[in-house]
């Protein structure tokens, strides 16, 4: 099981994923919780795991701080996830497809997104995003609990 916070905390709300990863890590030490700046580094980290929860900032046009969850299951179709939203070298959908092409995808992928407001260079989350870190973190913990209870 892996929780990966994607993003860069020096790109304002792009730091939402790392903030949630830290929140989860403080409350559930047995889960591997990582901050990953470059999605390609998920390959290797999530190979063949039962569950990978990816937390990232989103730019979908929703209200800033909106928390969304997408359960991709076995990640058979990731086209709807769209393209890159920050300066990550390779975007998450491509990395998911690459993991499948290489034969070691995670068995289940859940993406938790926090709608960002401000992605300019700088530290600190927008107030709405800061508030949403707890909600997103609790959602991640819930997903993990449910997965554990089903195991």
């Amino acid at each position: 099981m892996l929780v990966a916070g994607l993003g860069n905390e020096y790109r304002s709300d792009d730091g939402a994923g790392p903030a949630v990863a830290a929140y989860v890590s403080q409350r559930m030490s047995k889960v591997v919780s990582k901050v990953i700046s470059e999605p390609l580094d998920l390959i290797g980290a999530w190979d063949d795991v039962d569950l990978a929860v990816i937390v990232d900032a989103t730019r979908s046009g929703s209200q800033p701080g909106t928390v969304q969850i997408v359960d991709l299951g076995g990640a058979e179709d990731v086209g709807a996830l769209g393209g890159p939203t920050s300066s990550h070298g390779m975007d998450l959908p491509r990395v998911l497809r690459l993991a499948r092409a290489m034969g070691h995808p995670p068995r289940r992928v859940v993406v938790v997104g926090i709608e960002g407001e401000n992605f300019v260079d700088g530290v600190g989350l927008s107030p709405a995003v800061e508030l949403a870190v707890t909600e997103a973190g609790d959602l991640v913990l819930q997903v993990i609990d449910e997965a554990n209870s089903c195991a």
Binding site: S37, E38, D41, I43, S87, M90, R94, L98, M102, D121
Partner: protein, 435 residues
């Protein structure tokens, strides 16, 4: 994405330059069959960091500037450490320098493996991305990933983390890894070296567009080694200066269309930094195996074809693996792992070779060691004018191509530079406008 307009006013509009780090835009205007204008639109985060650093303590730049880029944080850390140590009149020990070079090898291995296999090679197969390439040549993609992982492990062992290392400080490191910790990397590095040799052979077989450009090459030169973490700055035009010299010589002009500054030597000459420059100016400093690899790949002692930069990177990948093995074999943990660097009033400069080219920093400190001003000049900004010039030549030579094909070639031309767009720009939108 590509759009077409009528023949008298044709526009190729590529929505996104994929496989570069970030976003940005490019406009190519063609008038009466001649390329009239090439403009790259750039937004430049380092400029924010320069302001952000003002008032910070002299010990903070390695941690702060490392966050400018997830692809080349060691370059930012090293150049900032060198500049601060210069300002404070401190030199580090040979052991600390060797450990810096080892960490930097990790970054070169990571970055070059990523660019060669995942970002650049797909162009030569007509693939949109590495996922498509994996369908054609899975072994090559897997090999690239394995090499990159070894770079990650090296970064973790020396820097504490694979991305944005936390073990670097002004004056050295917080902790020196043990010989045993580094010894565990020997076998993986040997495998990475073998894999890099295979990749060099692989890329040598690609079909390259025929173009030769007489660049003014600029890179570091070290008396003993192929340049990575230190050296003087030299050029194919006879330049030979230290980090202060290059800082004084490079004049950056603001261009209204762009957030980026355009760097010129002496305020007038464009110049090239990066693998082609390092290679041309330091061929003799490569290891015998790296030189053999270059010869086998069909390279001469100078490479003027920007599309063959992927081959030069593969040679440098071989070198970085070998060099990491050499440093580990001779490794003596620095004790203490850092020298003291008391803050003082002064101005300092530092330069190192990021995977994609020369990166130099300058800082002015007050008597308490607080930063009064900072200047960060990343390689992608220095290469902007050459990128535009390459694009002008490539577009002009290939105007007979359909818009979509020409747009693709323009994207590839930019990717030759492995531009670190989070350092120098957001990169999107290639527009070829023909009237």
């Amino acid at each position: 994405m590509t759009h077409q307009r009528p023949a008298d006013s044709r526009t190729v509009h590529v929505e996104g330059l994929a496989r570069v780090e970030g976003e940005g835009s490019l406009l190519v205007e063609v008038r009466d069959g001649m390329v009239e204008t090439v403009e790259l639109e750039i937004f430049e985060p380092p400029r924010f960091f320069e302001a952000f650093l003002q008032g910070r303590r002299h010990t903070e730049p390695p941690d702060i500037t490392a966050r400018i880029c997830g692809i080349c944080p060691v370059a930012y850390q090293t150049s900032s450490c060198l500049a601060i140590e210069d300002a404070c009149g401190v030199s580090v020990t040979d052991q600390i320098t060797a450990l810096r070079r080892l960490l930097y090898c990790g970054e070169w291995i990571q970055s070059h493996a990523l660019h060669i296999h995942f970002l650049h090679a797909p162009d030569f197969f007509g693939c949109q991305d590495a996922v498509e390439l994996a369908g054609l040549d899975l072994a090559a993609v897997q090999r690239g990933l394995e090499i990159k992982k070894v770079g990650n492990h090296l970064m973790e062992a020396v820097g504490g983390r694979a991305v944005h290392p936390v073990n670097v400080r002004v004056g050295g490191f917080y902790r020196a890894p043990s010989r045993e910790e580094l010894g565990a990397l020997v076998e993986p590095l040997r495998r990475a070296l073998d894999a890099s040799l295979a990749s060099a052979q692989w890329v040598a077989g690609f079909e390259f567009p025929e173009i030769e450009i007489e660049y003014q090459f600029v890179s570091l030169r070290h008396p003993d080694y192929y340049p990575i973490e230190s050296g003087r700055i030299v050029s194919s035009g006879g330049l030979d200066v230290d980090a202060k010299g290059i800082s004084d010589l490079v004049v950056e002009d603001h261009v209204a269309r762009s957030n980026a500054l355009h760097a010129r030597l002496g305020g007038k000459d464009m110049y090239l930094t990066g693998p082609l420059s390092r290679y041309a100016l330091n061929y003799g400093q490569l290891s015998p195996l790296a030189r053999e690899t270059a010869v086998a790949a069909g390279l001469g002692e100078v490479c003027n074809n920007p599309f063959k930069s992927i081959t030069v990177r593969a040679v440098e990948l071989v070198y970085a693996c070998e060099e990491a093995l050499r440093i580990i074999e001779a490794y003596e943990p620095p004790d203490p792992p850092a020298v003291a660097v008391p803050g003082r009033a002064g101005i300092g400069h530092g330069a190192s070779e990021a995977p994609r080219g020369l990166l130099f920093h300058s800082y002015e400190l007050d008597s308490d060691g607080l930063i009064l001003s900072a200047r960060i000049v990343p390689p992608t900004s220095q290469n902007l004018l050459c990128m535009e010039d390459d694009l002008r030549r490539v577009a002009q030579a290939n105007l007979s191509m359909p818009d979509e094909e020409l747009g693709w070639l323009c994207e590839q031309t930019v990717r030759n530079y492995d531009p670190c767009i989070s350092c120098a720009t957001h990169f999107l939108d290639v527009t070829v406008d023909r009237r």
